[in-house]
């Protein structure tokens, strides 16, 4: 299985490659990719340098152009496709039907991966994207159980990439508009979720309060670990009870599932986190490299090292991890 790592900037790209990523993915500095953060992502010059660095070491580079072209900005997205093709990336990661069609016609030889934002959760959906746009690979949304992944893998017409580690989206990706409901900006339209510009922190007599678009997302007492106010991970009131009504702050970690994923013929495991620091990317990439190497040498008797789990736990949101939807009882 290929290890696909995030590159929010050039240092992160280099660290990921150094630590054993088989492929890295990046985006340009605008709304054409789903991690539009200030100070993040690549200029043309930086991308060229990063691609040369990875290619000279035999590693691949994917370019994420995985937001939905907005009515007023079509040319910004097609320009990104042209730029990626010109840079010589190994694949583009896309979700929009129009843009997939554009890329398939203009650059038939440039491999197209379906982004998780394309919301393909069945082999029929995969066949749709494959037959219409010739996608080579699809990234699966984080909503399927292992049984469902198995059924899908058996019949998939394309390579499959699954999320292995990082922030956990619990809504079907590409179809979550919660962020724009509170802030006007969403993953689909602007490449952001719960964007920092709309976040406010306040010390109050009742505790430290985090707000998004003015809405109170959470309130932390003394000694509580205050997490970023991602709107689905706050504490809300339902029928008089206050709790994490949607999801706790937690990260996805699928180290335990590696033998099964390999047996299903999954082509690649993806590390989330282009918004993370080079140090984070380096550490996570290193652990997953060791895990995949151990898996290859002895798939039957694979056991994750306890120290890997501990280290990944520390790097996780709320210092806890979950198998998420892969595990039926999470639902």
């Amino acid at each position: 299985m290929e290890l696909v790592c995030p590159a929010g900037n050039l240092p992160a790209l280099k660290r990921a490659v150094d630590e054993g990523a088989d492929a890295v993915y990046f985006g340009f500095q605008n709304a054409t990719n789903a991690r539009q953060f200030a100070g993040l992502n690549f200029t043309d010059k930086r991308a060229r340098e990063g691609i040369a660095y990875a290619h000279s070491r035999g590693k691949r580079v994917f370019c994420a152009i995985n937001t939905y072209p907005q009515p007023a900005g079509w040319s910004q997205w097609t320009k990104a496709v042209e730029q990626a093709a010109d840079l010589g990336v190994d694949a583009v990661i896309m979700a929009d039907l129009g843009l997939l069609d554009y890329a398939a016609r203009r650059h038939p030889d440039l491999a197209r991966h379906l982004s998780v934002q394309g919301s393909a959760t069945s082999h029929e959906a995969l066949r749709f994207y494959h037959e219409h746009f010739g996608i080579k690979r699809a990234v699966l949304p984080r909503v399927l159980s292992m049984t469902q992944v198995r059924d899908l893998a058996r019949q998939s017409p394309v390579e499959l990439e699954v999320f292995a580690f990082g922030s956990l989206c619990i809504m079907a990706e590409g179809r979550c508009y919660l962020s724009s409901y509170l802030t006007g900006e969403s993953p689909n339209t602007r490449g952001v979720c719960s964007p920092a510009a709309h976040v406010r922190w306040e010390e109050t007599p009742r505790g430290l309060e985090s707000r998004l678009g003015g809405v109170l997302i959470d309130r932390f007492g003394e000694g509580e670990r205050a997490g970023y106010p991602t709107l689905c991970k706050g504490r809300f009131e339902v029928e008089g009870e206050i709790y994490h009504a949607i999801e706790e702050p937690t990260s996805l970690n699928t180290l335990d599932l590696l033998p099964e994923l390999k047996a299903l013929g999954i082509s690649a495991v993806k590390i989330e986190g282009r918004q993370r620091s080079p140090a984070y990317v380096s550490k996570v990439a290193g652990i997953w490299r060791q895990a995949l190497d151990r898996l290859d040498s002895n798939p039957e008797r694979f056991q994750p090292e306890p120290s890997w789990q501990a280290d990944l736990g520390e790097l996780s949101e709320g210092a806890t991890t979950t198998l998420g939807a892969y595990e039926r009882r999470w639902k």
């Binding site: 939905y68 072209p69 129009g98 919301s119 069945s122 959906a125 809300f236 999470w330």
Partner: protein
């Protein structure tokens, strides 16, 4: 402009659906979407039940469309979807690419649901070539972007009508997890069909008692109810073909009546003395956060 009644997003009892659609047969809506779009565990209504309701509505002169489940996860979901697409009688609204594949493969015309994310003419063009008869704008699309999009579609000869979500709690997200079962600490597989206790969903509020979202099983809806009745004349001038009204458990006849008045230019001006309902929103239309209410300036 036509009015449509969207699929019921909540989990009602058989009696409630029957009563609702018996009434709806007499309402001034031209299109009725039927079916379960949220959760495959909601099994009170079988495909045959929907077809039965559909036939009665068709006899009352409605265009009947069967809406497909939005999040398809399992082989069982696909089996249900195949039956729906092969119903042989009514058009299908595809809410997922799985449905698109089945419908296109069978050479059947279809309606594109809002969750297919059609934000630009190129995407609309792809589906227009494949048999799309009408498309729903993404719920988060602002009025100005939609106007641009409609102009571009007209220029490119894409004449399929556009439908806008004009009234109701906005469908904002779908998950593998059931949040209503979570509220009751039931595992999803043994949810006891607890959704049926909430015919308008379960309110999720901030710790300051502001309505934020509405939990509806695996679906998350807006906390406020979007109401674009005052924007209908603007929609008409932009060339929006259909305004969708999403069913609520109560007072839907009055809602339909108001929108029918609006499209005929007969909606009475808002009475400033009437307190503005706090749970109304129209932010998306005005290019703002969806939860905003442009009419809530009176405090």
């Amino acid at each position: 402009m036509q009015l449509s009644l969207g699929p019921v997003l909540f989990y009602w009892t058989r009696e409630r659906y029957a009563d609702f659609y018996r009434d709806a047969a007499d309402w001034p809506v031209e299109i009725v979407y039927l079916g379960e779009t949220v959760c495959s565990r909601r099994r009170d209504m079988k495909l045959d039940d929907w077809l039965g309701i559909g036939r009665e509505l068709a006899q009352s002169g409605k265009q009947v469309v069967l809406s497909s489940q939005t999040l398809i996860e399992s082989e069982a979901d696909l089996r249900g979807l195949r039956k729906l697409c092969a119903n042989g009688e009514f058009l299908v609204e595809a809410n997922d690419q799985s449905a698109l594949q089945l419908l296109i493969e069978a050479n059947l015309p279809f309606i594109a649901g809002a969750s297919l994310n059609l934000y630009n003419p190129a995407a609309i063009g792809v589906l227009a070539k494949a048999g799309m008869q009408r498309w729903n704008a993404p719920v988060e699309m602002p009025r100005d972007d939609l106007a641009t999009l409609l102009d571009e579609c007209a220029r490119e000869g894409l004449e399929q009508p556009c439908e806008v979500f004009a009234y109701g709690h906005l469908p904002l997200a779908w998950s593998a997890r059931c949040f209503t079962a979570r509220r009751h600490q039931y595992p999803k597989d043994r949810c006891q069909f607890v959704c049926q206790q909430y015919p308008e969903g379960l309110a999720l509020r901030s710790q300051e008692a502001k309505g934020v979202f509405t939990l509806n099983g695996t679906q998350t809806l807006s906390g406020a109810c979007q109401d674009l009745r005052r924007e209908i004349p603007d929609m008409q001038s932009m060339g929006v073909g259909v305004a969708r009204l999403s069913p609520r458990a109560n007072a839907m006849a009055e809602v339909v009546h108001a929108f029918d008045q609006a499209r005929r230019g007969e909606l009475p001006p808002a009475d400033p003395l009437v307190l503005i309902e706090a749970e109304i929103c129209d932010g998306y239309w005005h290019g703002r956060p969806g939860m905003d209410n442009s009419h809530a300036t009176i405090s």
